[in-house]
C-alpha cells in the first residue's frame, strides 16, 4: 500500500511538472502583451512594470523562479491584469467553485448511479431503453443550451429561484444541476455496464440458486463490484466538472475560478494562467489518487496485484 501511494504521488508530481512546463512555454509564446491599455505608456514605464513582475529576466531564470517561489514562499506570482496576488484570487474564488463542484458531483452520483442500476436490472426492457436514451441526450445536449433553458423555464417561474447570481443557498441548485448532468449521464452508462458484467457471473447465479431475494442479490452481491467502473470514472468526472464549470459559471454568474481562467487566457495574464492551471492540475491529481484508493477499497484484486508488483 505504501509503495503504491509513493508511486502515485511521484507520478502526480511528474504530471504537475509537465503541466507547468507546457503552460509556461505556451504562455511565453502567446502573442500580444499583458500590459496593453488605452493609455499610451512610454517604453520606459513599460520596462519598469516588466521589471516589477520579474518579466525582464532571462526565460530560463523565470522558468525556475516561479516553482521556487511556490515552494519556498507559497507565492503564485501577481496577476498582471488584476494587480493582485494570484493566491488571493484563488483563495477567494475556490470556495465557490468547490461548493458548485461538490453539489454537481452529488447530483451526478445521486441521479446517475440509480438510473444505471435500474436500467441494468431491467435490461432490454422499455425502462432500460428510456434510461439510456435519456443518458445519451444528457451527453449530447450541451450545458450551454440546458443552462439558459433552465433559467427561462424554471428559474423565472419558481419564486425564490434567481436566474443568475450567487450568495444564497438556493442559488446553488440550478448551476450544480446543469453542471452535474453530463457526468450523471456518463455515470449511468458506466454503472449499467458494470452491473451487467457482474450479473453475468457465476456467484450471482449461485446466490439466486440458493434463494437470496433478487433485491438482496443486487445490493449485497452485485453493487460492490458493479460500481467499480463508475468509481474509476470519478477522477475524469472531476476533470469534466472543472471544464464544465467554465461554462456554467459564465451562464449563472458564479464568482468561481473558471471565469478567472478564461479571462487570464484572453488578457495574456501569464501568472494567473500558470497559477490556475497548476491548481486545477493539483486538484485532478488528488481526485485521481482518491478514486484509485477507493477502487482498491472496493476491489481486493486491485490491492493484491499492486502489492505483488
Amino acid at each position: 500500500m505504501l509503495r503504491f501511494l509513493t508511486d502515485r504521488i511521484l507520478q502526480g508530481a511528474l504530471v504537475l511538472f509537465a503541466l507547468y512546463t507546457i503552460t509556461f512555454f505556451l504562455a511565453k509564446a502567446m502573442p500580444g502583451e499583458p500590459f496593453t491599455s488605452e493609455k499610451n505608456i512610454s517604453a520606459e514605464t513599460k520596462a519598469n512594470i516588466r521589471k516589477l513582475y520579474g518579466l525582464d529576466k532571462p526565460i530560463w531564470e523565470q522558468y525556475i523562479t516561479y516553482p521556487k517561489n511556490i515552494i519556498t514562499k507559497g507565492s503564485f506570482g501577481i496577476s498582471t491584469s488584476k494587480g493582485r496576488p494570484v493566491i488571493d484570487i484563488i483563495s477567494q474564488s475556490f470556495p465557490n467553485s468547490l461548493i458548485l463542484g461538490l453539489c454537481a458531483l452529488a447530483f451526478a452520483i445521486g441521479i446517475g448511479v440509480p438510473i444505471g442500476v435500474l436500467s441494468a436490472v431491467r435490461k432490454n426492457s422499455w425502462i432500460d431503453w428510456a434510461c439510456m436514451a435519456v443518458a445519451m441526450v444528457g451527453i449530447c445536449i450541451p450545458s450551454f443550451t440546458i443552462g439558459p433553458l433552465l433559467q427561462i423555464y424554471v428559474a423565472a417561474h419558481i419564486p425564490g429561484l434567481k436566474v443568475a447570481g450567487w450568495g444564497n443557498l438556493e442559488d446553488i441548485l440550478l448551476p450544480s444541476f446543469t453542471l452535474g448532468l453530463v457526468s450523471a449521464a456518463y455515470l449511468a452508462r458506466l454503472t449499467r455496464g458494470g452491473i451487467l458484467e457482474v450479473l453475468s457471473q457465476d456467484f450471482v447465479r449461485t446466490a439466486h440458486a440458493k434463494g437470496v431475494s433478487p433485491s438482496k442479490v443486487i445490493i449485497k452481491h452485485t453493487l460492490r463490484g458493479g460500481l467499480l467502473p463508475a468509481v474509476a470514472y470519478l477522477g475524469p468526472a472531476f476533470a469534466a466538472l472543472i471544464s464544465g464549470s467554465f461554462i456554467v459559471e459564465t451562464i449563472f454568474q458564479v464568482p468561481g475560478m473558471g471565469q478567472h481562467f478564461v479571462n487570464a487566457a484572453t488578457t495574456r495574464d501569464e501568472f494567473l494562467l500558470l497559477g490556475l492551471s497548476l491548481f486545477f492540475g493539483f486538484l485532478i491529481v488528488v481526485m485521481n489518487l482518491l478514486a484509485d484508493l477507493l477502487t482498491g477499497l472496493l476491489d481486493p484484486r486491485v490491492r493484491h496485484t499492486r502489492k505483488t508488483d
Binding site: V15, A18, M136, I139, F144, Q151, S243, F246, G281
Partner: protein, 316 residues
C-alpha cells in the same frame, strides 16, 4: 500505400469487414444515425450554397418569424437563421473532422512506434501519454488556442494567396484554424493507446515475420506493413472522437475563445441565441437542436461501428 494491395489480405480479413457490415446494418440506432448525418452533411455542404448570404444584415427585418423567405426567421441583426445554422454547421463539422484527422495522424505514428519498439522506448512513450492524459484537456486547449490565435491570420492569408480559394470561405476559417490544431495536437492521446495495442498484436503475425526475414528495415516494416493494417480499425474508432471535438469547438466559441462573430458556428449561434432568450427562444433552440442531433447521431454511429468491428464483443 501500394503495399496494401488486396493480395496481402487473407480471406479471413475480408470476411471480418463483411461481417461488420452485416452487423452494422442490423443496428437500427447506428443506421438511423448514419442517415441523419448524411442529411446533415448534404444540408450544410451542398444545400447551404443555394441559401441566402448568412451575413446579410437587415436591421428593418430583425427577429422576423419564420416565413417562406426566411424558413427559421431572422436573428437580432435580421440575418437569416437557417442560412447561419447551415454555414455554422460547416465550421462545426469541419472542426470535428480536421481535428480528428490531425489527431489520427499523430496518434497512429506515435502509437505505432511505441507498440513496435516495445521495451524501454514503449514504457517511456506511454508514460508521457499517461502524464498528458492526466492534465485537464480544456485547460491545455485554452492555453494552446490563445498561443496559436495570432498565427491563424497569416495562415489564412497564405491559403488565399496560394490556393485561390473563395475569399469569403477562407475568411470564415480565420479564427477556426487555431482550433483545428489546438484540438488535434492534444486529442491524439487515447487514439495512440488504441493503435499501440493493435500494433502489438499485429507485429507477432506471420507476414511481419516474413518481412523481417526478407531483411526490410524497421521503418519500412512499420510504415508499409503494419500501419496500413491498423488504419481501418483506427479510423473507425476515431469516428467516436468527432462529436467530442465538435463539442469542444462549441464550448470554446461559447466562452468567446473560438469562432467569433460575424462568422458562425453552432457554438456561436447558441451563445448569440442565449442573449435573446426571453423573447426569442428559437434562436437558442434551433441551433441547439441541429447541434445535439448531429452529436447524437455521431455517437450512435461511432458506437455502432465499434460494436460491428469488435469481434470479441459481438460473439457474446
Amino acid at each position: 500505400m501500394k503495399m496494401t494491395d488486396p493480395s496481402k489480405k487473407t480471406p479471413q480479413g475480408s470476411s471480418l469487414w463483411k461481417d461488420a457490415r452485416a452487423r452494422m446494418a442490423k443496428n437500427r440506432f447506428a443506421m438511423g444515425g448514419l442517415w441523419v448525418i448524411v442529411v446533415m452533411f448534404s444540408l450544410c455542404f451542398i444545400f447551404a450554397w443555394f441559401c441566402t448570404d448568412p451575413n446579410q444584415v437587415n436591421l428593418t427585418n430583425k427577429f422576423a418569424p419564420s416565413s417562406a423567405e426566411h424558413w427559421f426567421g431572422t436573428d437580432a441583426l435580421g440575418r437569416d437563421l437557417f442560412a447561419r445554422i447551415l454555414y455554422g454547421g460547416q465550421v462545426s463539422i469541419l472542426v470535428g473532422l480536421i481535428a480528428t484527422a490531425v489527431s489520427v495522424a499523430i496518434g497512429i505514428v506515435y502509437g505505432a512506434i511505441s507498440g513496435y519498439a516495445g521495451g524501454k522506448t514503449d514504457a517511456i512513450m506511454m508514460r508521457i501519454v499517461d502524464t498528458l492524459l492526466a492534465i485537464p484537456f480544456l485547460v491545455l486547449v485554452i492555453v494552446l488556442q490563445a498561443t496559436l490565435s495570432d498565427w491563424s491570420g497569416d495562415v489564412t492569408q497564405w491559403i488565399v494567396g496560394n490556393f485561390k480559394w473563395d475569399k469569403e470561405f477562407t475568411g470564415r476559417l480565420t479564427n477556426v484554424v487555431p482550433l483545428f490544431f489546438a484540438l488535434g495536437l492534444l486529442g491524439w492521446l487515447t487514439l495512440s493507446r488504441i493503435v499501440r495495442a493493435q500494433v502489438m498484436s499485429i507485429k507477432e503475425r506471420e507476414f511481419v515475420e516474413a518481412a523481417v526475414a526478407l531483411g526490410y528495415s524497421k521503418g519500412r516494416i512499420l510504415f508499409r506493413h503494419i500501419i496500413p493494417n491498423v488504419l481501418g480499425p483506427t479510423v473507425v474508432y476515431s469516428t467516436l472522437t468527432v462529436p467530442g471535438f465538435i463539442m469542444y469547438e462549441a464550448i470554446l466559441s461559447f466562452l468567446g475563445l473560438g469562432v467569433e462573430s460575424p462568422n458562425s458556428s453552432w457554438g456561436v449561434l447558441i451563445k448569440e441565441g442565449a442573449n435573446f432568450l426571453e423573447t426569442e427562444v428559437q434562436l437558442l433552440l434551433l441551433p441547439g437542436l441541429f447541434f445535439s442531433l448531429t452529436l447524437f447521431s455521431l455517437n450512435f454511429l461511432g458506437d455502432g461501428l465499434r460494436d460491428a468491428l469488435d469481434v470479441k464483443a459481438a460473439k457474446d
